[in-house]
Amino acid sequence: MSSPIGVAGEAAPQVGTRGAVRGPGWDGRFTVLILFLPPALLLFTLFVVLPIGEAAWYSGFNWNGFGRPTNWIGFDNYRFVLETRAFWLALRNNGLIIAVSLAIQLPLALTLALMLAEKFRGAVALRMLFFMPYILAEIATGLIFSFVYDGDYGLVASIWRTFGAEPPHLLASTDTAMLAVLIVVVWKYFGFHMMLFIAALQSLDKNLVEAARIDGATRTQTLRHVVIPLLYPTIRLSVFFAIIGSLQLFDLVMPLTRGGPADSSNTLVSFLYNNGISRMRVGYGSAIGVILFAICVTFAFTYKRWFMRDE
């Protein structure tokens, strides 16, 4: 619901160059505008702008979805959301996912990429292997891991038993449920970031690396002072994807824990679903949606402005 915003607006102005050659400047560009802008604008308005506006409008009502909303309660829905403990838990969990993505997932992906970017026997097979989890559908992943984590029959349980310990029910405890979700998140998405890094590494200018080596730089020095600085654009992109992806995380959580127990593994989106949609509290749900939207937009624009200015 957030990131595509920048995209549609940028497409239009670049089109005019050919028209400028053919006619007196503005005319050609005008035709192109008339022809190409309305469909995009219409779709964008209909499916992005209007729903956002509607959500903002609904968030001022106490409304169960029947008829027209009539019971205007101003900003009370926002107050209710902020007063809900589960909201802060969800926000904390989103923060955790971001932290883990940045602190564990990306370094892991980068390390693997550095090892697998070079050509050697089995490199392609290994890349495929690490990329596989990303291809798997989220719901399927969640279901598979709910079996893996099962404290009676799961893989985790049998590992525990081989050491003679009483197996834990990871998904059933408020202390471990989020940890279990985080492990799946890392497992599922590190391959994607690894691929991004591999692609970047392979398009690196080899001369620079070679020059460094000739100048007597060690492997670590080359890595620290040449390769990684050259990867910065990709790293910034990767961080961007990781953060937006964490904010939107939903379909992994539902089959694993549904946000439970006691809301300990809700993300903002699963919190929205559990407390807004399945309770028919359209106004309250919309308020959560608006808050999430505000977080995403603020993040996306600041990030683009501060870190991705050159791209």
Partner: protein, 421 residues
């Protein structure tokens, strides 16, 4: 010109054909039933109705339970809404009536003495201000199913469990004997809310619930509901449930019981049936190994021991539905069909005489319990509507998980109730 004439003729023919086709009525029936054996009987009933009513077609549509609940408000406001929809009565029904999306079928139901054939309490669940909006189809009761072998292993006499303290005692004895006392699907939350709710039914009785609805005696934050939480906590503190119970979904839990791994389950009467299908061997516990006792009483409680907690399910007619829809529904909820469904152990019937079809001792006992009950409380998560009902589920799961005190749980429900109304 000739071509035009031909086209005109063809168009006229089309129109004629179309209008003759639209003289047929299609009754659209939306359901959520997943048991193919039961749907098969419904199909047969629909086909036999079509056979005796030429020009009427009954079309069945299916939605999965959770999807159904989520989509219903939208579906009901579409022009193409189904004519007959599934309902758990209670708060959701109340909102639907207020939103004016249901048809008032009082006259049709009262005509020819039809309404007299239906159990009054069940019909009342679908009646509001003297107007009937739908018909009940089945009742269920919440109580303890137990595994006779495991109870014997733990040396517990289930027939002696009458009070809440008896239950606590039984749990202690079973644990000491190394038997998992109770299995529960805590991840779904509502199986846990049965404990809290049924305790409230025992402690406060009907007056207690009615008073809370009116906001008297502190509403849902009042003494009755705080005490329900406290007694529930007494049970929770004994660690009566299987390991990892907060991660179990209800079907898993019922299967666990069917596998013979736990002595008891606080069950809806239909679990008697579903534990077979959900057991790992698809056989489950046979009749001679299964027992049932009613939810224990609380000494000093205002509720009668015969009061029951359970579901009342039925069908609603939506606004603008053809009269054939109501007619078909009356045909469907008739003695014969109900007896047939009862014979398959699918329902505890609501039509008088339908219970003749019941052929298992277990279902007969449930039917007798329900017949004797003066206060049948619909599930709280249905009767209070989704917004408050789910909070009841949340807080009971939190009491069970030890993350909320009984007092705060009761307060949270009252707060949600105030917010929602």
């Amino acid at each position: 010109m000739r071509l035009l004439g031909k086209l005109g003729l063809a168009a006229a023919a089309c129109l004629l054909w179309a209008s003759s086709a639209s003289a047929d009525t299609t009754v659209k029936w939306l359901h959520i039933e997943v048991n193919p054996a039961q749907v098969k009987i419904w199909e047969e009933v629909a086909r036999s109705y079509e056979a005796s009513h030429p020009g009427v077609k009954v079309e069945m549509q299916f939605l999965e339970n959770e999807a159904y609940k989520a989509k219903l408000p939208t579906i009901l406001q579409s022009k193409d809404r189904p004519h007959i929809i599934y309902s758990w009565a209670g708060g959701v029904l109340k909102t639907q009536i207020e939103a004016d999306v249901l048809a008032d079928i009082t006259d049709s139901v009262k005509s020819g003495g039809y309404s007299d054939t239906i159990a009054p309490a069940a019909l009342a669940a679908f009646t509001s201000n003297g107007k009937v909006y739908g018909l009940p189809t089945a009742l269920s009761q919440v109580g303890f199913l137990y595994n006779k072998d495991l109870m014997a292993k733990g040396n517990v006499d289930a027939s002696k469990i009458k009070t809440w303290d008896d239950l606590l005692g039984a749990v202690k004895t079973l644990r000491a004997a190394g038997v998992t006392p109770i299995v529960v699907g805590g991840a779904d939350k509502w199986p846990l809310h049965f404990y809290w709710t049924h305790l409230a039914v025992r402690i406060g009785g009907k007056p207690g619930f009615d008073a809370a609805l009116k906001g008297e005696n502190g509403g849902f934050a009042g003494e009755t509901f705080q005490k329900s939480g406290e007694l529930f906590k007494q049970l929770v503190d004994l660690q009566p449930f299987q390991n990892g119970f907060l991660g179990f979904k209800n079907p898993q839990a019922v299967g666990y019981f069917g596998d013979g791994k736990a002595a008891m389950i606080l069950a809806i009467s239909s679990f008697y049936h579903t534990q077979r299908a959900l057991a790992a061997d698809k056989v489950g516990l046979s009749d001679d190994k299964l027992g049932w006792f009613d939810f224990p009483v609380v000494p000093g409680g205002k509720g009668e021991p015969s009061d029951t907690l359970g579901g009342i399910t039925g069908w609603l007619i939506t606004k603008g539905a053809p009269k054939e829809a109501t007619d078909f529904l009356k045909f469907f909820i008739s003695k014969d069909v109900q007896a047939r469904l009862a014979a398959g152990n699918f329902i505890v019937p609501v039509v008088k005489g339908g219970e003749a079809g019941l052929n298992s001792a277990f279902m007969k006992q449930i039917a007798a319990n329900l017949a004797k009950s003066n206060y049948h409380q619909n599930f709280y998560d249905q009767s209070l509507g989704p917004s408050v009902g789910r909070v009841v589920n949340d807080v009971t799961a939190e009491i069970a998980g030890g993350s909320m005190s009984p007092q705060n749980a009761a307060k949270a429900i009252e707060a949600a109730y105030k917010q929602g109304n």
